[in-house]
Symmetry: C2
């Protein structure tokens, strides 16, 4: 008993919640349910209410608001859907009453009544979430039909075929959508009737059949579900609303949201719309148009139209659709009205729209509008032209094109028709890692020499196929149109070189067996011999048998150039390129690069002419011998830099000193071990035979080589003698490189070329390494400039690619004049993952099992690697406030990473030349959205 | 012109410093020089003024202060030395005047005057820095002598030999020390006189010779330096003071300070002391004693004495010294006085003292006292006994023993006499990495089987020698007394196993060539055959030919046990042990471990009996085959854990699930490749011969194995498929391990043994890995407990050994109930250094070139790896405030690292059993000094 007697009557309230919420309790907001507005008439909503009304509903409301002909209707909100789930699949308080009230308004406006056989209103019930989830949730049409209403409508329209077709569809949809019955029993009935009539198409069934089918469908519903098809139209409406609500948590929808990254707590709205029919005769029809051409971006309405048909017929493709021009011929006035509406919509929504419409007996009704999906090419052209038409700003235009879409302009691709046909033929052999975009067809060549010979001498298009590639395969890769390997990951040698040279490549096709001895590949149960033709798509990772035609988009697209120019105005990050050769540098510059962020000097050592001398240098037994080979290499290296400097006249060129472990330049260990063992065995067995004579000498030579290679072998070469460690171990080598850089720089200066070399020392873990190395090398640089009587502006800096370097960046910045994040290596060490091994091994297992959300070698791991980068930038600038900081790992061309680099205050990103335009746009996005 | 005329006269001031300091400008303090006290008489100073007066000077002042017989003297301060350097090697203002004033006081006290031929005062001038730098700086004796003074002294003492010996020493020291002349010309003169007299010893030269020698020395000075030996005693004093000042920056002293880590800006004091002479007859003498025995710690004065001699004679060893007991026989009163003084000094300084004294004509003079250096054994005993004598507190006692000194008690060592003799014989073959302390002698065995056979069957002491060791060598390593390898680093397999089992080991002896075919080693130009005897000292890294006797200190030393008990009272860190076997666990517990911090389960897989089954499990082609071998392994693994749990009854046992890459369990790749190639070649050459019959089958088998090994081969196994990655890849394997752990835990519980298993999942880089693995394994654990009808307390946790784990420790702590830092791996990835390759490669080059101050695998890199650890602790405890955090890398037993672990708030350190006592003491130090 309360201590004080209450005088005022107790208000009727729900009981207080117990202190601990129980599971599945409805959320607090359901307590205010009775007061919440769950239902909006179309003329009560607006286009910016997508959270509440869903995308479809908000746009229907907006079209209504601006006076377009939309069939009257109303929307049940997404909050109602959430409340429904929260109450354990019960309508929240007040919802049904509000739905009924809205229905009454509809009936009043239409002068028709749901369930009135003399004057029946029919409605549809469709889902509509904030983000489009096409086909993922449920729809019911023709709600309001029952036997009496059907008879009444037949009387009213005189079109029994139309009425019973609508009725049987309602029953069928009710069975499958609301009750979850299988489709087959319904389809069997239709089949049977078609068979009896000897026809292919349901549309040709006469009215009596459709009526009989309707009855058959009602029997199926009764037998399979144990309940009758509800005759009461209001019950139909209520059950349809519930079905749409429930479909939000259906498996299909949940899977889709997981894949598309859509939140699960958004809920779906439900749109109840007066039915209009495009199948009421030749003055009726239905269609779908976009306000511009979404393939090319051209400014013309484009789409499909079908007379005397319903929307379903357009989608199902049972009758061939006509181009929208057909409407112009048949009903020029309606066509003109549609065009005016499209223009109004585009102006109103400030973007190209994708529109559904229906014509019922000469009256045009708009059923849906939304921003149109478009190809990359169209996206660019539309964005640029909307600016010219003063519809949107340059900023908006830049933001409307995704950086990834720019890639489209850069690579050949297979036409979709070709791909479809190849799939149908069963020519899709496998899907590997899509490491370098673009498509290519050619004959299989199983080694670099063959690839080069067939390409150069026989002028064949070649696809070079290997288990994996090595530095001495590069000449073959250059000669080939594309590269295909069975091993290796996203940053394998094949992938890196392919991206570097813009060659399409698919790697890590583990189900493909490459037999270099039998000169064949086995994949998907098929054997392809060397010389057979294959096609690879480096954008998708697909590998096809046979030749597929490629389409080459235009890189110099004027719209693209304009858009990128605007992007350059907005971005704050510099965009540099990774380029080792003058031809790459030129290309990068054409594509907009503002400098070279990474020139890998060791690539120059792999060239056929130089490699033997490089090996001799490595294996040298005396300093003199080493000095001799280095002196031989110097002019070559100088020539390399001369070319780069000339190509980048006026722009900085960042040159990384030698980085890889020495064994990469030496012959393969296992091959040598094989040869030595074989020779030893032969010598033992043939020791008294004449053949033995030559063997001994070869054995001695091979053995010496094997010993040298073994002495340089490392258990974990990635963490071994490379980078600055190599420079400290073999100072003469890096001094030669620095000499070459500065001799070239002086020569260029004399020629009038403006040079700015930035010498980059890789793999620093401790500031002492950099101090020692910089002292040595800067002295060499000064010697050269003194000899040449010239001063050249330059900087010495370092890669930050070891966690310790980032952690001690304040100390390192005392020596380094610039930083460049080498995120490939930094990812390897921060994650403890060897890129050479993991991407075709456990890392792909991790990605398949969703243990990792993304491949950290493709998209930067911001939480881990990114945290180190942020630390590195902050600590570095603590010591040297104006420290120039960039990134030159593979990630430098990835838009997500570029946004991150912008956020943590980098000065520039550097990526492969072909990704420069993408990076320019991504950098603009980063600046505009941060 | 100033705008206002000054009325007051301008004060005379030094000109204002220009705004930018020039180089070599004296520091600001020299402006106040004239007012600073540069000179302290002994009775003006105190023992705690070491900063200002140096160690020697402060102690001389202190002895004076407490009334001990110290020859009168004074000290020039270290600040004067610094001012001298700062003024460009000029005496600061006032210094010389103060020195003269102090000298006058001396003269007054002694009743003698510097330079007075009738009554001459002689003084010495010695350096004395804050920290002892023995022999690094200069000393001048007998200042005040010239021809007249010498004649006067001869007249006074009647001892011309004594006077001219002192005089020639002064001239000689003046030439070499003050003027920097070479020693040789002086030595040649002495040699010549000895030759003429036919004697060995300068002491036997007659007075006339010494006088002639003095004159000859003066000629040498004049000729070699171009200046006369200064006759004026005050000039001698001034030049001597300057020479000591200058010697602070001499190369020897600078090098010493660099090596000893002494700051260069401390400066040295200069001690000017009245000369007393121990060579004035049989009632004179000199000696050095420690107040206790510094070898054993026993409580008895100990040292050397030489009658009628000077300090130099004791040091130079020209005459054999006597035990201090000799003084007792000759002069019992003086001996008793010395003993009283020693006791007073020890009481006063609260520690054992190392004392120099001189007796001049029956009077005892104290010339120096300082804390005595002592052996580890003595340090422990002295510390404990001083507490018993109530001289110091327990805290002080604990702090007086260095943790490293405890190591002494744990390992056999060679006696110093043996080592000296072996060196003299030329038997020191090489010095490698001292990776596991202790000394051992034995016959060389070049493979594990031989080592085991010789040890077990022939009962020989064996040293196992290999290029490097592998897991299947462990049985041989266990059988051997010590391990010696030519390759590998501080954390190589050999080093890890050796430390684990407390076997002495020297690894990475790169100049030693091990030829397993010829069964011999070549080192230092000598060839040792298998079966020859070698001796290795794992404490020093030395390798000797032949047998050296070992001495085994006593581990159960009662003083040590007492000291460690006190340490346990003070420390806050727990001390756990890394132990894989019950016998290690027992040992660790005896040595004071409070739990197992790391049990490496894979070590159990390498046992001879199990390895074939483990290989079968790895190579299994079906899940059934794998399940079968796992079922076979389960009881073994359960037995392992039973033993561990029983040994650690009541204490936590941390068990790490399988960690290493699978190929470590498989046969060697190169050997297989060799065998396959050889068989292929034989088969080709012998194909029609009868021998071919058996070859085919062997080839097929070897080929299959080679293919399997190749399919698991990784470029960088350290960063590959291991740790949790392996667990996710082969879930059945880790489930078997968890089953074994919990079956054993349940069985123990039933037996009344209290168990607390902590299951540790290695190599986590992303929290998802841990979540997935923990779900799987905790389910298995619960299954077992359900089957057994028992509940066991347990935890699931992880190693933090990848930078990303430390960076995302907040996320990881959502899954992990404890952290253990695996600093071996964490150092590898943070530094980007492969421990397998680096320690005998570029890392040792770095250490030699001083690019790195320390080997980061021996002492934790606090700046880099430590920063990540600190982050890991903070982030982890942000999520889980009571998170239990430890360290189980090799560093866990390193005192510096332990101090760091204490500072960042770890709960415990875990180290190999033999380092547990060291860690206990180090943890106490950390707690007492933080």
């Amino acid at each position: 008993m309360p201590t004080r007697a209450r005088k005022t009557p107790l208000r009727k309230t729900r009981p207080r919640a117990p202190s601990r919420p129980r599971l599945a309790r409805p959320p607090a907001r359901s307590r205010t349910a009775s007061r919440e507005k769950w239902v909006y008439l179309f003329d009560e909503g607006r286009g910016d209410m997508k959270d509440l009304l869903g995308g479809k509903g908000a746009n229907l409301a907006e079209m209504t608001r601006i006076g377009l002909p939309v069939p009257p209707g109303f929307i049940v909100t997404t909050r109602a859907c959430n409340a429904f789930q929260a109450e354990g699949n019960q309508f929240p308080e007040g919802l049904w009453e509000q739905e009924l009230a809205a229905l009454r308004t509809l009936e009043k406006r239409m002068g028709r009544t749901l369930g009135d056989p003399g004057n029946a209103l029919l409605v549809s019930c469709r889902s509509g979430a904030k983000f489009s989830m096409p086909g993922m949730m449920d729809t019911l049409l023709n709600i309001g039909l029952n036997d009496e209403v059907a008879e009444g409508l037949v009387a009213e329209t005189g079109d029994a075929r139309f009425v019973y077709d609508a009725y049987r569809r309602l029953v069928q949809m009710f069975g499958t959508v609301v009750l979850g019955l299988p489709h087959e029993p319904f389809e069997h009935v239709l089949e049977e009737y078609r068979r009896q009539r000897g026809i292919q198409n349901d549309a040709a069934l006469p009215a009596e059949d459709l009526k009989a089918i309707t009855q058959a469908f009602q029997r199926i519903v009764r037998e399979k579900s144990g309940r009758d098809f509800p005759k009461e139209p209001l019950e139909q409406l209520r059950l349809a609303t519930e079905a749409v609500f429930r479909s939000w948590n259906g498996k299909r929808a949940v899977d889709y949201r997981n894949a598309a990254g859509i939140a699960h707590d958004l809920g779906t709205a439900v749109n109840i719309v007066t039915m209009v029919f495009g199948n009421r005769g030749e003055d009726s029809g239905t269609g779908v148009v976009t306000t511009r051409n979404v393939s090319t971006g051209e400014r013309e309405m484009e789409g499909d139209y079908l007379a005397n048909a319903q929307g379903e017929d357009v989608v199902s493709g049972t009758r061939p659709t006509l181009r929208i021009a057909a409407l112009k011929e048949q009903h020029p006035k309606l066509h003109a009205q549609l065009e005016r509406i499209c223009q109004k919509l585009e102006r109103h929504f400030r973007d190209v729209q994708d529109v559904e419409f229906t014509i019922e007996r000469g009256k045009l009704w708009m059923l849906q509008t939304r921003d149109a999906k478009r190809t990359a090419q169209a996206a660019v052209r539309i964005a640029v032209e909307l600016v010219r038409e003063r519809r949107i700003t340059r900023k908006e235009a830049v933001l409307r094109v995704k950086p990834e879409q720019v890639d489209f302009f850069l690579h050949p691709r297979f036409s979709s028709a070709e791909v479809k046909a190849a799939r149908e033929r069963g020519d899709l052999l496998a899907t590997g890692l899509n490491v370098s975009p673009g498509a290519a067809s050619g004959v299989v060549a199983l080694d670099a020499d063959t690839a080069e010979r067939w390409s150069k001498e026989e002028k064949k298009a070649v696809i070079m196929v290997r288990p994996e590639t090595k530095p001495d395969d590069v000449h073959g890769m250059l000669a080939a149109r594309g590269i295909l390997t069975s091993r290796g990951g996203r940053t394998s040698h094949a992938a890196l070189v392919a991206r570097q040279f813009g060659k399409p490549a698919v790697v890590g096709v583990s189900e493909m067996e490459v037999d270099c001895e039998k000169r064949q590949l086995t994949v998907a149960g098929r054997v392809l011999r060397e010389g057979d033709t294959v096609s690879i798509d480096g954008t998708t990772g697909e590998v096809f048998a046979g030749r597929l035609e490629t389409v080459i988009p235009d890189l110099s697209d004027p719209h693209l150039l304009e858009l990128l120019k605007w992007a350059d105005e907005f971005r704050e990050l510099g965009v540099y390129a990774n380029a080792d050769y003058p031809r790459d540098a030129k290309l990068a510059r054409e594509l907009g690069a503002e400098g070279i962020g990474l020139c890998r000097t060791e690539h120059m050592f792999f060239e056929t002419e130089r490699l033997p001398r490089v090996q001799q240098m490595i294996l040298a037994r005396t300093d003199e011998e080493r000095a001799e080979t280095l002196a031989w290499l110097l002019p070559f290296q100088r020539e390399d830099f001369l070319g780069l400097f000339r190509a980048m006249d006026g722009l900085p060129v960042t040159i990384r000193l030698i980085d890889p472990p020495l064994h990469e330049f030496l012959p393969n260990h296992d091959e040598l071990l094989h040869d030595v063992t074989e020779l030893e065995t032969r010598l033992e067995l043939l020791k008294d035979k004449p053949e033995a004579a030559g063997l001994e000498a070869r054995l001695v030579q091979k053995r010496r080589l094997l010993e040298a290679v073994e002495s340089m072998r490392e258990t974990n070469p990635m963490l071994g003698l490379r980078g600055v460690r190599l420079g400290i171990h073999l100072p003469a080598l890096v001094r030669m490189q620095v000499r070459a850089i500065f001799e070239a720089a002086c020569q260029c200066t004399r020629e009038g070329v403006r040079v700015f070399p930035k010498v980059m020392i890789p793999l620093i873990a401790h500031s002492n390494e950099l101090r020692v190395e910089k002292e040595l090398l800067e002295a060499e640089a000064r010697d050269v400039m003194k000899e040449q009587g010239l001063e050249v502006a330059y900087q010495f800096g370092t890669m930050i690619e070891i966690p310790r370097a980032a952690l001690t960046a304040d100390q390192i910045a005392q020596e380094a004049e610039f930083f460049s994040f080498g995120t490939n290596d930094l990812t390897q060490t921060t994650y403890g993952i060897s890129r050479d091994d993991a991407e075709t091994g456990f890392l792909s297992e991790y990605l398949q099992k969703r243990i990792l959300p993304e491949n950290p070698f493709a998209t930067l791991d911001q939480r881990g690697v990114g945290a180190l980068m942020e630390m590195g930038v902050k600590l570095g600038r603590k010591t040297r406030p104006k420290l120039d900081v960039g990134i030159c790992g593979e990630h430098g061309g990835d838009p997500k990473t570029i946004a991150f680099c912008h956020r943590i205050g980098l000065d520039y990103v550097s990526c492969s030349p072909y990704r420069v335009p993408i990076a320019r746009l991504a950098a603009a996005h980063a600046a505009l959205t941060s």
